[in-house]
């Protein structure tokens, strides 16, 4: 080992790892082309389903940032989805704000709420956050129905909003535009998340998740980083809520029960908790597995969904992302190094 200092000069960081391999870039471009092409291949109803896949993918990505990457369990991310949806619906319905301007507003509100909830709960430790967020998710539908807020929220009736028209006289219909708009926002959100998670801040998030004491010794301010991570996570899921509201053109308290939070959680786990790509898979899963279950058994679709979920997690305990990583490792190196 004594001779290694000379090696430093002989091979100065020879094999710097590229951020994206050419193969991944090609795959990404192809995926994007297919996603855009889908706007012209699918019927309006299927396009709506795909729009919701993008929406859910952003929501699950938000949850994955805090739970998968930072190790803080949130059981109530549906609450932020609901808040985002209502911010958009109220701004559009009561204040005639154009739909795209409601997104930054929703981002600010959800990040703020996330920060305020994260601040005390995160200091108390992981399980308190899980319970606090769960309580929030349980309370949200009732809050939205509350008399005091009825003028804004429309109470039990909810709010109907107008379907946006395609801009600039584009020769596409409303559903196609809605899908492409959502896809565009989705791409931006995924790019932001990818940047955030691969750099200094993302590494710090994962370091806290893996070994907090050591993370602190490396100079990471744990309370600060966790709180901000939670705020960012709430912001992502909130923006998804806004996009969801625009896509459905309707918000009502009972669309945002605690089951929504559980769906997001399932989507995250199925995709692979700490995976950006996994969020997309998770979104497909929670969007299409209910349909699939319905086709298999009209009588007990819930049971079928449960069985599908269990079988899937049995086959891929680390989610789709874990399965993919394992496959890549196998391909790269036929003889896996042990230990």
């Amino acid at each position: 080992m004594n001779s290694n200092s000379t090696m430093t000069t002989v091979m100065p960081h020879a094999i710097a790892k590229p951020a994206v391999t050419p193969l991944a870039l090609v795959g990404l471009a192809a995926g994007l082309a297919v996603a855009v092409g889908a706007a012209f291949w699918f019927s309006d109803y299927h396009l709506f389903q795909l729009t919701m896949v993008v929406v859910y993918a952003i929501a699950i990505l938000g949850l994955s940032i805090v739970t998968g990457f930072n190790g803080q369990i949130s059981l109530g991310h549906g609450a932020f989805y609901a808040i985002g949806a209502y911010v958009t619906a109220i701004l559009m319905d009561k204040y005639d704000v154009p739909y795209f301007y409601t997104l930054p507003a929703s981002a600010v509100v959800c990040a703020g709420v996330g920060f305020l909830i994260g601040l005390p709960a995160l200091r108390l430790g992981g399980l308190y956050l899980a319970l606090t967020t769960f309580a929030l998710a349980v309370a949200i539908p009732q809050l939205l129905k509350h008399k005091a807020l009825e003028d804004f929220t429309g109470g039990v009736q909810g709010i109907v909003i107008l379907k946006p028209d395609p801009p600039f006289g584009l020769p596409i219909n409303g559903d196609q535009w809605l899908y492409l708009f959502t896809l565009g926002v989705g791409c931006i959100m995924f790019l932001l998340a990818w940047n955030l998670l691969r750099g200094r801040i993302g590494r710090a998030m994962r370091a806290i998740r893996d070994r907090a004491v050591a993370a602190e010794a490396m100079g990471i301010d744990i309370a600060m980083l966790k709180t901000r991570t939670f705020a960012v996570s709430a912001m992502f899921t909130g923006i998804a809520g806004s996009l969801g509201a625009i896509a459905v053109q309707f918000v009502a308290p009972d669309s945002f029960t605690v089951f929504l939070s559980i769906e997001f959680f399932v989507g995250m786990v199925v995709g692979g908790a700490a995976s950006i790509g996994g969020a997309v898979f998770g979104a497909f899963f929670i969007q299409f597995v209910p349909n699939l279950a319905d086709q298999i058994s009209k009588a007990a679709p819930g049971a079928v969904r449960g069985i599908i979920l269990i079988i899937f997690l049995y086959l891929a305990p680390a989610g789709m992302a874990g399965l993919t990583r394992m496959a890549i490792r196998r391909l790269r190196r036929p003889k896996p190094t042990g230990a």
Partner: protein
Amino acid sequence: MNSASTSAASPSVANEGSSAALMSVQGIVVRFGGVVAVGGVSFDVGRRQICGLIGPNGAGKTTLFNCISGIYKYNEGDILFEGNSIRSTPRHRMAGLGIGRTFQNVALFRSMTVRDNILVGAHQLGKSGFIANALRLPFVRAEDERAEAKTDSLLDLLDLRKVAEELAGGLPFGWQKRVELARALIGEPKLLLLDEPAGGLNHGEVEELEGLLRQIREHFDLSILLVEHHMNLVMRVSDKVVALEFGIKIADGTPDEVRNEPEVIRAYLGESDDDDSH
């Protein structure tokens, strides 16, 4: 401990060559309930000095180590680092002061790659926040590239190149220890705290470690404080040795001086001087 200031003023035997002490432990007292774990210990660590902290089990080494690394708060006395008290420094600021550390049983980020583990060590050198990172502004990119370049040279120095993309948790123990060392070194510490670096290593690895510690001191121009059971290693590698027993300092000097100190011989009576079973 009123003698704290005088002990700082009188340079210790092994301190010649270094002008002012890098770190000065001044009459530290730590109590756990009724137990006095450390009962008023003073010593200095000079610049570029390797200082060994020894003593039988229960002597208070770990407690003192945890005070210096900011994990425990001390009841009395003070610890000065470059002349400033670290009493109220939050734990996450220690790295920024220039105090790096490793952990007794290795505390790596197990599900992260070796490369990412080392990169986390560079966290405190960076300044970029959430928004700058999400937008990956040019200065974030530059910051990352600098950290990557330093990581690469540490991978070479510590012979970790071929496991750079492996998950840290899957490596053999001896390798994990080197990853931890690299992770501490990338943060450019002025003082490196090593908690039983030889623990769990085999004979050959301990010999490599000895060379490595010297090399690190030369290469990075830093001081090392090591708590270590492995007496051979401590005596060979240290410029200065501090011996504790029952929370009290019983000797402080060059390895030869400490080895021949009657108190030390008495404290270690019955324990093998060639204790390399650890």
